[in-house]
Symmetry: C2
Subunit: 152 residues, 2 copies
DNA sequence: CACGAAACGTTAGTGCCACTAACAAAGATA
DNA sequence: TATCTTTGTTAGTGGCACTAACGTTTCGTG
């Protein structure tokens, strides 16, 4: 039945996909994170700003679903974005549980700045790949992530 | 020069490579981590055991380089592996700064068990991809990680 | 050979992120 | 009406990547 397999395949360590993914993600996070940190931001801020720009004002819970950031963490992120006037948080009269999160002009401007930095980081990240390979990688990762969706 | 680009490309959020990587890595880490946790292990333990099985006894610093685990974190991992008799830590008489880390029979056995769990997790992770796609993904990630090597 | 630089193992601590638990208030459903 | 769910919020956990510092041992170079 189960092999004892005392010796793993040579170079197993370098080829385990979950390890490769973790390594690549770490590199990517550092490239992006360092640039954003220079602006006092983290990737969460960027994700929220992008989500807001894409679909307009929404509730925190909706933002949470779209960005993958837990709603418990979203609170602090929005506090920070509000502290720099990037967003407005106003109660929703139609549903008084909700806050309506709105992107301000300052938020738009900040997004443009962060977007440039992220794009720069992505370029450096994907530099070793040809355009075709870059597309392939994005495609494969999309297949992976859409298949393993959060149990919503 | 620099575009103001107030509105990011539609669906930008879902296609940012660094985000895709982070998402995929999170899924992978959960699949692997949950299984290892059921055995009281984490991915670090697995990585160290694999590294030891692949190349035999080595120093902690060498293990650190091969696994990517910081040598400061390596101490605790080896303490835990030693506590369950998976490894031996003996001073190296040839270089008294070093400890020689040796995989015990119990360590081999534990590696076989963890390896099976990891293999199972990888299978589930890569299920949505064809064998060719799985190979392509591994290849592309390898290109990325080898290009962005730690500054050693 | 001597001495400064480097490597080793170790302790302590930081920051980011993913994730859980619990709560009050409001809304939806039965 | 009574129950279940959603929403925003606070608090806390655990893993991982990473830095700083220290004593000890070895190496490299003058």
């Amino acid at each position: 039945m189960s092999q004892s397999s005392p010796d793993p395949t040579p170079a197993r360590l370098r080829t385990v996909p979950s390890r490769l993914l973790a390594q690549a993600a770490t590199v990517a996070d550092r490239l992006v994170g360092d640039r954003l940190a220079a602006e006092g931001a983290r990737k969460w801020h960027f994700a929220v700003l992008v989500a807001l720009a894409e679909t307009g004002p929404t509730s925190q819970a909706e933002l949470s679903r779209r960005t993958g950031i837990y709603r418990s963490d979203m609170v602090a992120v929005l506090n920070e974005l509000a502290a720099t006037d990037c967003i407005h948080r106003t109660p929703d009269p139609a549903d008084r549980r909700r806050n309506t999160i709105t992107l301000t002009p300052a938020g738009h401007h900040r997004l443009a700045r962060l977007d440039a930095l992220v794009t720069e980081a992505e370029t450096e990240l994907l530099a070793p790949l040809t355009p075709t390979q870059q597309h392939d990688l994005t495609h494969l990762l999309t297949l992976l992530t859409t298949h393993h969706r959060p149990p919503h």
